[in-house]
Every structure is written in structure tokens, then in C-alpha cells.
Symmetry: none
Subunit: 130 residues, 4 copies
DNA sequence: GTGGTCTAGACCACG
DNA sequence: GTGGTCTAGACCACG
């Protein structure tokens, strides 16, 4: 379910964070659900437990998860997560859009890219439920 | 003209690179124009000449500028720069768009954001020629 | 394994780059293999770590190696390296051949040089497996 | 007749040297012929007289030209120049050929490149005498 | 321990 | 004066 790319330039702990957030957004992880323990996940992914720990701590600081001493780490309410996720995606989206505009691309061309991407993502989603 | 933020987590040499590329895209730096010398810019920005050197050499490897030892560093042809810039912006744009789509935003809402951003950028451009 | 000539007019970091590429071409370094760490190699060769760093970063930009911060620097897939290497060797070959042709050497004589060099290189290879 | 590329990474004084040697090899400059004076050539090419001076001095050291105090600089005997030129081209040729062989290219393929280059150079030569 | 960034400062070739 | 290379040495994030 959770996978990481050891060869990526993105730090493992950050891949892990993004991965977990994405799984909540896609309704794979449900609010209140218990995450695998630090040790379990570390063994499963073959990474240092400290790395998992750092991810969980970061996620807790961002209110994506909450930990109950001794009982584990759990997914928070979805609306909190969704709004954080969307806010972040939107920030990146607008920033890259502004750069794109500076390169003299037309609004129509940008919208064509939007349509094409929606079509492609829809196709992929369909595949998932075959 | 060129400014850097010493407190940013983005390395100085990368800020510098982005800064210079943007100034070319915005036609502030013209092809063939000489950039400030490594030492001059280092003194101006209060950073080490090696840091400027690294920026210039990186930009040269990316064909954004060309350096002539003993003569200076100069802006390359604009089409090379523009296509590299747009390719990069487009990659970021599509990546953030995909994340946005996962958060169940509608294509129409995305397009409204596109229109709003175009309007805002146009306003800014208009300001430049007042 | 890796050696440099401090007296050469070829910069140390470039000697190092050529050295590493050659060792991959000759199958001494295998894809995925970890290179010596920046500090280790610096100590071994008696040069500054920054010089090794520059080599490794250059090689990474050319997709010869990939560096994972905190983990090390590793050899990339061989096909990428081979094609870059051959493309470069071929460019030099054709350039020197054109100069040779200007000196009125005959195609037959050039081909004799080719045969002689192949024979000599084969002998050297044979020697390796004695 | 003599041209230089200010944008090239090759130092101007070296371009100049290669240029003059090539013109002798191609029989454009004849042995005993007087080269343009340092000042004249500097004015013509728009470069610093020191740069021309350095080229001429280097060429004299390599016995490509000889200078008669106060009267000018003259082309040496052609056989000296030819053998130096060919020796140099041959060294580069063999070196790049060895690299090419390491990339597992076949002797036949190398010879095909030789034939193709001869054909192309002959075509160019033909054009010159139209 | 590993690579990545940066400062301070030296010396070089080229023009 | 200009870019290019290099040493010495510091501090950082990541694992």
C-alpha cells in the first residue's frame, strides 16, 4: 500500500508523508484508522525506524494524524486533511501557472492542458474499478 | 535587479539561477548581453564569488548563458531559454494539477482559477507600461 | 583504481570524471555500484573534498551517476553511459580524421592505422585474461 | 582569409595558430610568404595585438614560421609544417580510436565512418575548385 | 557517515 | 579585469 522510491531525490520521510496524505485523499485510509506501527512499517519498507518516526511526527504537527500514547497513530478528520492538501496543491498550481503565463502561453492552451489531464486521470480511475 | 533571500531554504545559487532565467524571460536581460562579472555580483549581493560562479556554470551547462574566460558571461539565444523555461513550468503545472484533481476539484473550477490568474497577471503587466 | 595526475593541465575534477566513465565502460564499475564517498576518495587521492564533489555533481548532471544525499553516489544504467561515451569518442574521431584527410593521407593508410590499433588493443585485452 | 570565432571556448590565440597552420597545409599560405603584421591582423580581426603576438611567438617556437627582425614573419618550409600537423592529427586520431574501440565498436563500422568522411570531404573539395 | 551548500582566499590563463 | 580551478574548513539535512 505504502511504497517509497529509494532512488528518488525526495527524502524518504517526505515521500512517506505525501504517500499517507494521498492515501487519505483517495479514501484508502479512513479517518480514525490506525496506521502501521513505526517498527512494522520500518521493517516492511526496509528503512530506518527513525525515518518513519520523523514522518509520523511531522504529520502529527500538521494535524494529519494524531497519536494516542502507547496505542498508536491514527488518521485525523478528513476535512482537515483535504483542505490542507488542496491548499497546498493550489499554491503549487498557481505558482506554476504564473510562470507559464510569463512564457506567453495563451489561456486557451492552458485550458486544453487542463482538459487533457482530466481526461487522462478519468481514464486511470476507470481502470482502477475494473 | 538581481536579489536573493539569504534566509530562504532554496540555495543561493539556485535563487540566482531562477532570478536570471526570469529576467531573460521578462526581456530585462537580452540575448548577447553581458551579465555582471562573478566578483562584481558577489560584492553586490554580499555572497562568496564561488557561489556566483556555481550559478553561472550551471546556467552555462543548461545553455542559458555562455561564459568566455577572460571576457565575461553572456545571455544565450532566447528561444533556447524560453523552451527550457516553459517545459519546466509545464511539468510543475501538470504535476500540481494532478494533485488538485485528486482532491475532487472540478475542471470548471480549475479553469476559473486559470482565468482569474490571467486577469491578475494582465493587470500587473498593464501597470508596467503606465 | 582511480588515479590522477596533479601535474597535468587537465583539471583534476575532469581527470576524475574521465577516469570513472572509463571504469564503467570497461566494466570495472558496475551499474548500481556505490562509488567511494566524497571524503574517502578525497583522502585517498590527496585532494580537497570539494574537487571530488564537483566531479560527482558533474557526472550526475550527465546521468553517469546518481547521488542520494546521506546515502552515497551510485553508477547509473550502463546504456546511458555507453551511448554518451561513444558519441563523444566518435565526435573526436571524426574531427581528427578530417584534419588527417587535409594532410593528404589516403583512406587505405588510415584503414591500416585502424587495423593496427585494433590488433594492439586486442593484444592488451588478451593480456588481461592470461 | 583568417577568421576567428569570439564565442568559441578555444582561446583566440590558439584558433589563430590552428588557422594559420591549416592554411599552410591547404596551400593557401606558401612557404616563404609573409604573414600580415601583428598590428594589421589585430585591426582586421578586432582583437588585441598581444593576442596576435602570442600566436606568432608560439608558431615560431614550433618552427611553423620564422621572423626576421623588423621585416616581418614568414612561413617556414612546408615539410616541417606538414609533418608536425600530421603527427598531431594522428595522435588525436589514435587516441579517439582507442576510446571508440573500448565502446565495442567493430573495425568494419569504423572503416565505414572513414569512407563516409572521405566521401564528404571530397565533395567539399570539389566545390572549392568549381 | 553521506552528499550539498557556502565562505574565505589563492593562483592561473586569457585578453 | 575576467572566468576557472583548487584548498581549507564550516555547517546542514538525511538516514
Amino acid at each position: 500500500m505504502i511504497t517509497i522510491d529509494l532512488k528518488s531525490r525526495i527524502p524518504i520521510y517526505e515521500q512517506l508523508k505525501n504517500n499517507i496524505i494521498e492515501l487519505v485523499v483517495l479514501d484508502v485510509f479512513k479517518p480514525g484508522e490506525k496506521l502501521p506501527s513505526v517498527r512494522t512499517l520500518a521493517a516492511e519498507l526496509g528503512v530506518n525506524p527513525n525515518t518513519i518516526q520523523k514522518s509520523y511526527q511531522d504529520l502529527e504537527k500538521e494535524s494529519i494524524v494524531y497519536s494516542l500514547g502507547g496505542r498508536g497513530t491514527f488518521i485525523s478528520e478528513k476535512d482537515v486533511i483535504m483542505s490542507a492538501y488542496r491548499k497546498n496543491a493550489l499554491k503549487d498550481f498557481l505558482q506554476s501557472l504564473k510562470k507559464l503565463i510569463k512564457s506567453d502561453i495563451s489561456a486557451d492552451e492552458v485550458k486544453r492542458y487542463v482538459d487533457k489531464t482530466y481526461a487522462a486521470e478519468r481514464r486511470q480511475d476507470g481502470g482502477k474499478y475494473d
